[in-house]
Symmetry: none
Subunit: 199 residues, 4 copies
DNA sequence: TTTTAATCGAGACGGTACGTCTCGTCTTAAA
DNA sequence: TTTAAGACGAGACGTACCGTCTCGATTAAAA
């Protein structure tokens, strides 16, 4: 699970002393999420999370280096659950469906706001950019590439296609619209897929 | 005697106040720009700008409501100068040239970093998003639309083309690459133009 | 007049249309006085005086080096008018009458508040202490000494009396009571005179 | 999910907060004292105290409402230690000794400068006057009265003596001389005691 | 009557300190 | 040993005044 990375090993083998409190962990993640949605990224403070989660600040700093790591935990967990990359069916259809889900995710769901906030914060701090790549962008991109590769292997996509250029041409417009507050309609997404994948 | 409300004669003498100091204005804009590039958005503080510009904090607060407004001033001034929208020649060539300039602006120039930082900050604060639209995105988009409209009028682009969808499909991938720290090569831009405008 | 001291010599030499505006001068003195009574010494700011007097800050700085000088102007003017040192009659009676007037001045009149405020400020700043001595305490003390000397000359007071010790023993308790907010009754003053001058 | 109000279990764990840091407290008191003596009351700033004491401003504001409260703390501590009210021996001798100590305290010791500064500030701000009474003047006056009462009980002082009038007649001249920068000699004090207590 | 120079109100400027806020670290006592 | 509570050093926030400095407009004596 995504958050395991920030957590000491959880296998309940034998010794008890080093037990992380799961209630506290969830309370922190939810509090951070809520604060982001209610008040924006600036309204997410460690102090505020601690107060809302009923947890001591030190407990947060013990397990997460910064508030960005908390938000990354919630993003990774939520995106893994709610923004799955399809692994069957015709690839163009799979891509279209994935991009529609991405549009919905970015514009309608709380976790989408977290994604946009983290992408925003990555512009402000190099450390955030690095973490965002490592924990979210890169693993996801790997799976997105695999999806396209399957299309190439199946002959649905041309052999010489530049995977990253294609993916950025598909994802970029959707993210850009979300970032600028523009609506991302199904029509916009479908036209995009048509232009990029079927030309 | 002390309680008398005596006041100096109120004849409207002295009408013209001191005018704004242009040196101070420029020093502030440059200091903000420098700090953003050197230390990132978080390193841009009103206190730091004042210190580096050799200006009093109050002078900053007198003319700018927030540091975002300062950065917007530098962005708008710089983008107007260095990221002009071509107004002659074949439209596809003009668009290609404009997007190449945009790619260079975003990845190589200080003002491009300001743009990305403001787009990032717009994710954190609604007020910034509004200002960013009013001062930068919307006016620029109007001119970008005009460029495409010229292409439609000249028969270079199909009559029914969705201007905003086209623009977001062109600009989105470039901005997204810049946001994620990916290189934005001339090849990527040219392929994009080919796909979107010549399909 | 007291304020002349802060003003350059007024001989109309050569070509000088440099006439000081008397309205502004009075407005400033009254505004300072009012602010002191209404808000205390801390509430007396040059900015506040200027605003209330309807005068420019520069006009104040042109004629007075600091707000203390403004208050000294009002104090000296008022004390000269309302706290006269008697120069006839039996000396003990004259002293008693003077001290009764002093008690009233300190506890009931606005100018008394100015005196206490300046004595207070003299504890905070050496420059104020010096000015306060030069403009108020020393000249007044000279006249108080003259009063007692008249008593010695007339044989009403013993020849070897220490003038300053006697004056401080009379004035000290009254001022101290005023400083600590204690009432200064006629009985207190009269008993003081009896103890100090008739023992 | 994000909006759920999940909170860590609220069993009252962790009960004891950190206690106040005595080192910081003393460093603040000493820094304030030093600054007052070196630069006068105006030179005592919260910022300056914090810097000299090596303490954060917030730590000062956490424990003291204002710089006046800091100075009152040092005054009360020092006066309790160095300006004791004698409680044995003939009362006239005790009073003479106390007043000599007061003269020395006011003119020679740092804490005496604090006392004069606070008495000065009390003229500027009603709140300071109140605090100064509650924390310093009133408790001390109670003990001073007790001293005189002992003299009355012992028959050393007349039965009908007005305690406060007597005390103000003794203390007033000494404080007044200190306030006006005049020397307070042993001869002045002794003559005062003679006049006021033995007439 | 024109010139000329000091006055005036207005307010921008570089500064200092204010009192508040949040950060991330450190300390304590209870569980 | 981990937790909740919260004190701590650090430093930015936005505000209030400081004292200096233009800036036109006004004004009145000297030329």
């Amino acid at each position: 699970m995504a958050t395991e990375k920030t957590t000491a090993s959880r296998a309940p083998k034998g010794r008890a002393p080093q037990r992380r409190n799961e209630d506290a962990r969830l309370a922190v993640l939810h509090a951070a999420d809520d604060l982001l949605v209610e008040r924006g990224f600036g309204g997410v403070t460690v102090e505020g999370i601690a107060a809302r989660a009923g947890v001591a600040k030190q407990t947060i700093y013990r397990w997460w280096p910064s508030k960005v790591d908390i938000l990354l935990d919630t993003l990774v967990e939520d995106a893994d659950k709610r923004l799955k990359i399809p692994d069957e069916g015709p690839v163009v259809d799979a891509v279209r469906s994935y991009l529609r889900a991405l549009a919905r995710f970015l514009t309608k769901e709380d976790a989408g706001k977290v994604l946009l906030a983290l992408l925003g914060e990555a512009q402000h701090e190099a450390e955030t950019a690095t973490l965002f790549h490592e924990r979210y962008l890169d693993p996801r991109r790997a799976r997105e590439r695999a999806l396209l590769k399957r299309g190439v292997a199946a002959g649905e996509l041309p052999a010489g296609v530049n995977l990253d250029a294609t993916l950025d041409s598909l994802i970029g417009p959707i993210v850009y619209r979300a970032l600028t507050g523009a609506p991302v309609t199904r029509g916009f997404v479908d036209a995009l897929v048509d232009r990029v994948l079927e030309s």
